[in-house]
Amino acid sequence: MSNQNQQLIRLALRLFRLAGRKLSLGAAIGLCLAAVLYVLVLQPIAEKRFGVSLPSILTADRPADGPAERPAGKPSSRPSADRDVDPGSVLASRGKGVYESPAGIRYTRGSQHGHRFTHVMAHARDEPNRRGQHGVFDDDNPAAVVALVDEAYELALAGERTRAERDGQRMVYTVDMNRRVGYVGGESGARKGNPAARHIKLVMIEDRLITAFPLRR
């Protein structure tokens, strides 16, 4: 059974249960049929014919643990050994290889990847053979990763849901994002069934980013 069919059945049962408490049996069945008609007929036709994006009443059930499903058929924007993402496509160039995010994080040269942006984007894919754990962002879109790191940075600066530790000139922030943002990959993550990650670790020197990645806690 396809994922959409499963979701439709779940939606119908949920509506039937909710409506059944307040409405007559006939009205509850009518409401369920209307919902199914919307999902299967009206929404696709309206979107195809008029190019509008109607709200979906199906909710994707993201697994609590394990890698998130990424849209099939959509070309992956994740970097690989042979294809890096240009930082200038999502960050503002400040010259001399320095790029700045909307929240003011500066991504400079450095790390084993040669640039901090590339280093962070290495966390947009799993490295199953990597020793220990390797935090992986659910969304491998570079703009989404930058936005998520920005959000964590702003929470860290505000001292909200953040554990901060000083390491010389550096600050190491562990920020609770209050939602799933990725999963724990690498060798040890795989052994534990790729647990969901709800935190982001940020290592900063003032506004310069050293690394950022998802972690469990």
Partner: protein, 98 residues
Amino acid sequence: MFSIGICPTCDAGVLGLRKCGVCRRVVVLCDECDAAWIDHRVEARGTRGNETMPCPGCQADLWSGGATWATLAEIEATSWCAGPDVTLTESEPFEPRR
């Protein structure tokens, strides 16, 4: 590459054994948060990277200038690596792209 554990600073990076291209010392290097130590005592201060990764022995960049992951022979020739506190693990190396 050979490593001796997980970085206590970021709790994620592998503590790899890196041979400096200038002073030729085998040092400990976290490949995630760019922190390095002169030997396995990672509770000591060490050096921290920014645009370069200074060797804790001579300040030369550990990501360039001829630095490499240490071979088993180079590790065996390093006195502190032979201590009982050091447990070596071999894993896939990542060659820096600089």
